[in-house]
C-alpha cells in the first residue's frame, strides 16, 4: 500500500496535564507552525486517529481512559508522550495518585521532553511518530497480504511482540480498583 505517512491524524488526550503542554499542542496547528501542511488533522475520534498524543502523567482516574482510547484506535497506531510528565511523571512522579509516565499504562513510541514541550519539539516528535507509523503500516500490509484481506478485520501483526503486558496500573500502585485510596 502507498504512503500513509502523508496523512497522520492525531488524537490529543490530557491525562492530568496542567494545560501547559496542551496549549503548545494546539499552538502546533496555528498559522505560525501549521502542522496541517504535513497532512496532520486534529481529530476528536479514536476510531479515526493514527497517532495518540498524551500530555500529563497518568493518575488513578485517567489510567482506564488512556487504555480505552488506545484500544479503540485502529491498527497501525503510534503513541507520543508529550511533556516530561507524560514521559516519566515529572515533578508529580512520587505523588500518591500518579503512576508515572504514560508508558506505565500503554506502550509509548516517542517521548517528547520539556516543561512545557516546545511546539518545535512536538512537531519533531510527530515527524518521528509518522516515520514509525509508515513502518508499522508496511508491516501491517505485509501481514494482510500473507493472511488474506479478511485479516484486516482483526489484523494484529506486531501487537504481541511490541506491546507485551502493559503494567497493570492498580497492581503497580499496590491498590485495587475497589479501594482506590489504598487503605
Amino acid at each position: 500500500m502507498g504512503k500513509v505517512k502523508r496523512s497522520p491524524w492525531l488524537l490529543h488526550y490530557d491525562a492530568s496535564s496542567c494545560n501547559g503542554c496542551d496549549i503548545e499542542v494546539l499552538a502546533c496547528l496555528t498559522p505560525v507552525y501549521d502542522a496541517e501542511r504535513f497532512g496532520v488533522v486534529n481529530t476528536g475520534d479514536p476510531m479515526q486517529a493514527d497517532i495518540l498524543l498524551v500530555t500529563g502523567g497518568v493518575n488513578a482516574q485517567s489510567a482506564e481512559v488512556v487504555k480505552q482510547i488506545y484500544d479503540q484506535m485502529a491498527r497501525p497506531k503510534v503513541v507520543v508522550a508529550v511533556g516530561i510528565c507524560a514521559c516519566t511523571g515529572g515533578v508529580f512522579k512520587d505523588c500518591y495518585n500518579i503512576s508515572g509516565g504514560v508508558d506505565t499504562v500503554i506502550p509509548v513510541d516517542v517521548y517528547v521532553p520539556g516543561c512545557a514541550a516546545r511546539p518545535e519539539s512536538i512537531i519533531d516528535g510527530i515527524v518521528k511518530a509518522v516515520a514509525i507509523f509508515q513502518e508499522r503500516s508496511d508491516k501491517h500490509e505485509k501481514y494482510i497480504k500473507e493472511h488474506g484481506e479478511s485479516a484486516r478485520d482483526m489484523s494484529d501483526p506486531d501487537a504481541a511482540a511490541r506491546e507485551g503486558n502493559p503494567a497493570d496500573f492498580f497492581d503497580a500502585l499496590g491498590k485495587t480498583s475497589d479501594n482506590k485510596e489504598g487503605k
Binding site: G2, K3, G39, N42, D45, A74, R152, D153
Partner: protein
C-alpha cells in the same frame, strides 16, 4: 451520450470532488494565513483510511454505508443520463436516509445525535430542492435534464430566486459552517464527528467518497441554471460553479455554527421568500 455521461460521472466525479475538497482545504488554510496541506491531501487521506485495520461497530454498518454510496452514484448517473430531475431528487433523499441508518444503527449517543440532525438538515433542504425542480418545469415544461440543457436561454434569467434558495441550502447539503449540524471536520464544535463518530478506516473512506459524489452532483444542479444551447454557456457554467464553491468556503470560514432551530427557520424563510416569490411571478407572467 446517455450511456457515456453516467460512466464519465462514475469515473470522474470522485476525482473532481476530491480535487475540489483539496482546493477547499488549501484555500481555507490560506484564508487563515497558513500554508495548508497539499492539493491531493484528500486522496492521501482516503488511501490511508483503506489501509487501516477495519473496525466495525455493527455488522450492518458497512452494508448501509455501501448502499448510501451506491444510491448516491445512481442519483448522479440518472442526472447525467438526462433523466427526470424530480426522480433524481427523490433518490437523493433515499440515499440520505441510509446515512441516517448508518449513524443510528451503532447505538452511540454522539452518532445518534448526528443522525437526528442529518434528518433535520434533509428537512431544511427538501422544500428548496423540490421547488427548484418545479421552477425548471414551469419554465421549460419538462423535468428531463437532457432537454433542460438545450434551453433557449439560461434558466437563471427567469429563476434568480430559485438560484438564491438553492445556493442557501447548498451550504446545508455540503455540511459546511454555519450549518455543519450533523458532522464537522473541525474539532472546535460542540458535536465534532456526529454521523461519522462510529465510522473508522474503510467505512470513513466510503463516506468521504460519497461526499465527493454528492458535491459534484449538487454543483451540477448549479450548472444547470446556467447551461443553454449555446456552447459558450459551458465555460460560463464552470466559472459560476467555481465561484459558488469559493463562496461556500468563504462562508464556512467566516461563520460559527448555528442552532438547528434557527437553521430550519432561516432556510425555510429564504426558500419561501426567494423561490416562492419567484414562483408566483413565474406563474403570473406565463
Amino acid at each position: 451520450m446517455r450511456i457515456l455521461m453516467p460512466i464519465l460521472y462514475l469515473l470522474l466525479a470522485p476525482l473532481v470532488g476530491g480535487l475540489l475538497d483539496g482546493m477547499d482545504r488549501k484555500i481555507s488554510a490560506r484564508m487563515q494565513r497558513r500554508v495548508g496541506p497539499p492539493l491531493l491531501q484528500p486522496f492521501y487521506d482516503v488511501q490511508k483510511l483503506f489501509a487501516k485495520q477495519r473496525i466495525v461497530v455493527t455488522n450492518s454498518q458497512t452494508f448501509l454505508m455501501i448502499t448510501y454510496l451506491v444510491l448516491m452514484i445512481a442519483t448522479g448517473a440518472l442526472f447525467y443520463s438526462g433523466a427526470d430531475m424530480l426522480m433524481c431528487f427523490f433518490l437523493l433523499s433515499t440515499a440520505g436516509i441510509f446515512l441516517y441508518f448508518t449513524a443510528v444503527v451503532t447505538d452511540s449517543p454522539y452518532s445518534y445525535i448526528g443522525g437526528q440532525r442529518e434528518l433535520f438538515q434533509e428537512m431544511c433542504c427538501e422544500p428548496a430542492v423540490l421547488l427548484t425542480a418545479i421552477g425548471f418545469y414551469i419554465l421549460e415544461d419538462t423535468f428531463q435534464t437532457r432537454d433542460l440543457i438545450h434551453a433557449d436561454r439560461s434558466a437563471i434569467v427567469a429563476l434568480p430566486g430559485f438560484f438564491i434558495a438553492f445556493l442557501f441550502i447548498l451550504t446545508i447539503k455540503m455540511r459546511k459552517s454555519p450549518f455543519d449540524e450533523s458532522t464537522s471536520h473541525h474539532p472546535h464544535q460542540e458535536l465534532v464527528k456526529g454521523v461519522t463518530t462510529e465510522l473508522g478506516g474503510g467505512n470513513l473512506a466510503l463516506f468521504q467518497i460519497t461526499e465527493w459524489y454528492e458535491n459534484v452532483l449538487m454543483l451540477s444542479v448549479v450548472a444547470l441554471f446556467i447551461l443553454n444551447r449555446n456552447p459558450w454557456s459551458i465555460p460560463c457554467a464552470v466559472l459560476v460553479v467555481l465561484a459558488t464553491y469559493f463562496l461556500e468556503i468563504l462562508i464556512d470560514n467566516t461563520s460559527a455554527r448555528m442552532r438547528s432551530q434557527k437553521m430550519l427557520q432561516l432556510s425555510w424563510a429564504v426558500t419561501i421568500a426567494a423561490a416562492g416569490i419567484n414562483l408566483v411571478i413565474l406563474i403570473l407572467v406565463r
